[in-house]
Point group: C2
Chain length 145, copies 2
């Protein structure tokens, strides 16, 4: 290989790794009896940390687009985990809040997710984390022009 970027490998490796992570997360959720998809969890996590957040902000933070957020929230509302409250200042907006069931879900699922994060990182070092962040950010940046 004359230059790493000549290989298909790096796109593929990122894709494979994130798929694996998602699979493991979902499988653990199912085993633990959580009736929740990974992306539903991601929204709950952000709402828990930003009570009253708007859908647009939620979309930005999660790098999901607006229609996707709308639809995932629809599901979470149907499950009674989350509610939309009309915003006072701007009637185009909703403020999103956890309902009691949602708060409970957050508290129950969080430790499981933390454990999975630990497992995934394993024996990798602080220095590796530096490399990791630098390389990922660099790829992202190289595409942002």
């Amino acid at each position: 290989m004359t230059h790493p970027s000549d290989s298909r490998a790096y796109f593929f490796k990122i894709d494979t790794t994130i798929k694996k992570i998602r699979n493991v997360l979902q499988k653990r959720f199912n085993e633990a009896g959580f009736d929740l998809t990974v992306d539903q969890w991601v929204l709950i996590d952000h709402v828990a940390r930003n009570e009253g957040i708007s859908q647009n902000t939620l979309a930005e933070l999660t790098t999901k687009d607006a229609p996707t957020v709308t639809r995932i929230l629809d599901l979470l509302v149907k499950k009674d985990l989350v509610e939309r409250r009309m915003s006072e200042e701007d009637r185009r907006k909703f403020n999103i809040y956890l309902k009691p069931e949602g708060q409970k879900t957050f508290e129950t699922v969080l430790p499981v997710v933390k454990e999975i994060r630990r497992q995934g990182w394993g024996q990798l070092s602080e220095e590796d984390y530096g490399h990791f962040v630098r390389i990922m950010d660099s790829i992202y940046q190289n595409f942002s022009d």
Copy 2:
């Protein structure tokens, strides 16, 4: 941060990076007038390098599941880029081949993809590639038990 794995950041960073890559690929495809999704490209690429490959093998190589491969191939067949030929030895199997249009597509798209790979890797070094592979493989491995 007491330990890197305590942070949500690494799942999120991988997710964000692969999304970005996919977006850029798709946008370039569209700009270049290729009527092709990224995943359709991935299958064409593998068929081009493995004429006569079976659907199952295709699924393994791409880490897609069987139904997904079936459906993407359906689309490629409809576009006349690819054909299924009944296997001689095993009548459950198909052998997948590029049609002339598909071969042309492969040759046209490949240089564009190579250029995008180069752009994404940018000034990262051979050594960085080593770190990258080691870290990704390690995460994957940590989840394979």
